[in-house]
């Protein structure tokens, strides 16, 4: 049997706006993926350890509170430090274009802003997740 794509959806830092992340988690479930949902107020350390223990193919980070640069940068640093390879990281939420460009330079593969469709996120993951 083909292994479904496994995705971690998490919110980092002090940001209680959960609805968007939950809608994406349910949407990806409906697109046939296995979604580990770890909810709000995760530390970057928790997110990276969860990604390792769950052996996910992708990590989706959500932020609507303005803390994305500090939090997401730390996640990328930790992934590097832990030598985690082959895990695609994407982001979503209220993220200005300028910040999105910087995040992409850090290795975040895509940033989905308000109005992005679930279908486009699912399509992106199906295309970009490395088969293994």
């Amino acid at each position: 049997m083909k292994r479904p794509i496994k995705v971690l959806i998490a919110k980092a830092g002090l940001d209680g706006h959960e609805r968007g992340a939950l809608v994406v988690a349910m949407g990806l479930r409906d697109a046939g993926m296995e979604v580990v949902y770890t909810g709000i107020r995760n530390t970057p350390e928790q997110i990276v350890q969860a990604a390792i223990q769950e052996d996910v193919n992708a990590i989706g980070l959500s932020s609507l509170s303005g803390g994305h640069m500090a939090q997401f940068t730390r996640v990328m640093e930790l992934l590097k430090k832990e030598n985690v390879k082959g895990v695609l990281v994407f982001a979503g939420g209220i993220i200005p274009d300028e910040d999105a460009r910087k995040l992409k330079k850090l290795g975040i593969q895509e940033v989905f802003g308000p109005g992005s469709s679930i279908a486009s996120i699912a399509e992106f993951l199906k295309k970009r997740v490395r088969p293994r």
């Binding site: 479904p4 409906d30 046939g32 296995e34 350390e45 969860a50 769950e54």
Partner: protein, 297 residues
């Protein structure tokens, strides 16, 4: 621990994909205590495990958790939401949590759960906790893999006829009424007390609140008491033999089932199946003919 977290997580992924557990790992199993946590959806199984992890870590014990949630029969996807309740333990090196989707396995666990328990056992965790899907009355497979089974319920789940029924209630070594903060706990105790059936182990009914943390130390005390009973009564050896037999039988069934499905691809077999669909042949005669003509027995 004899392997790194990253080696363990990759091993679990391979087991989940149906690859066999390397023999050298099986040789190192048998040391961990296996605790099964089961019960209906929403009673607080994951939150109770979160509290138990606190208790165990205070005692310096390491904990592996396997948390199962259902695969969607429609999309094949799954929302794995158990870890959310225990996420604060993610940074603790002495805790390893893995969420698994059922992938259409029935019985409350997943195909590879017995092998994944072995992997955590071989990795050196003192306690392996297996959380089933939210169960109905008949998903009792956890009793085949666990040393101790705690069935978690909550107040107002049903009257005494419900608890007299077969299945879930019968596999409990410990009954836990969680969310005891919600109501008159005295009533909950009376409703949930199992019939006295002369078992040597007197199955306790405990009240907990995963929300406040009340009752967790008492719950762990009951689990330890049960484990001491398992050893002193030789029941542990009996349970583990039963588990080993069940595991081999399941692996054999799954291999034979795959081989049957492959043989059924043959045109001659397909014709027989078509004849049944067209009401030219009855299912029992079809099985006779398939056994003779396709499987040669």
């Amino acid at each position: 621990m004899s392997m790194t977290g990253k080696e363990l997580t990759k091993l679990v992924t391979r087991l989940e994909a149906g690859e066999p557990l390397p023999a050298e790992f099986y040789a190192r199993t048998g040391n961990a205590r296996i605790l099964g946590i089961t019960g209906p959806p929403g009673v607080g199984k994951s939150s109770l495990i979160d509290r138990l992890i606190d208790e165990l870590r205070r005692q310096g014990k390491t904990v592996g958790v396997i948390a199962v949630d259902p695969t969607s029969p429609i999309s094949g996807g799954a929302l794995l939401g158990d870890r959310l309740r225990m996420q604060r333990h993610s940074e603790d090196d002495g805790v390893f949590i893995r969420s698994l989707a059922t992938r259409h396995h029935h019985g409350g666990l997943t195909d590879a759960t017995p092998q994944i328990i072995h992997a955590l056992d071989a990795a050196g965790f003192d306690i392996v906790i297996v959380e089933t899907v939210g169960t109905g009355q008949d998903e009792v497979e956890v009793a085949e893999v666990a040393d101790t089974v705690a069935v978690i319920l909550m107040p107002e789940l049903g009257d005494e006829i419900q608890r007299a029924k077969s299945g879930l209630m019968e596999i409990a070594d410990i009954l836990v009424i969680n969310k005891a903060d919600l109501m008159n706990a005295g009533t909950a105790r009376r409703e949930a007390r199992p019939p006295n059936d002369g078992q040597k182990w007197e199955r306790p009914t405990l009240h907990t609140s995963a929300k406040s943390g009340e009752g967790i130390t008492i719950l762990w005390g009951a689990i330890e008491a049960h484990q001491a009973y398992l050893v002193s009564s030789c029941e542990l050896a009996r349970r583990r033999e039963r588990a080993a037999r069940a595991e081999v039988i399941r692996l054999l069934q799954s291999r034979m089932s795959a081989s049957i499905l492959q043989s059924l691809e043959a045109p001659r077999a397909q014709n027989i199946l078509t004849d049944v669909a067209q009401r030219k042949l009855d299912p029992y005669d079809a099985v006779e003919r398939l056994s003779r003509e396709v499987f040669g027995s």
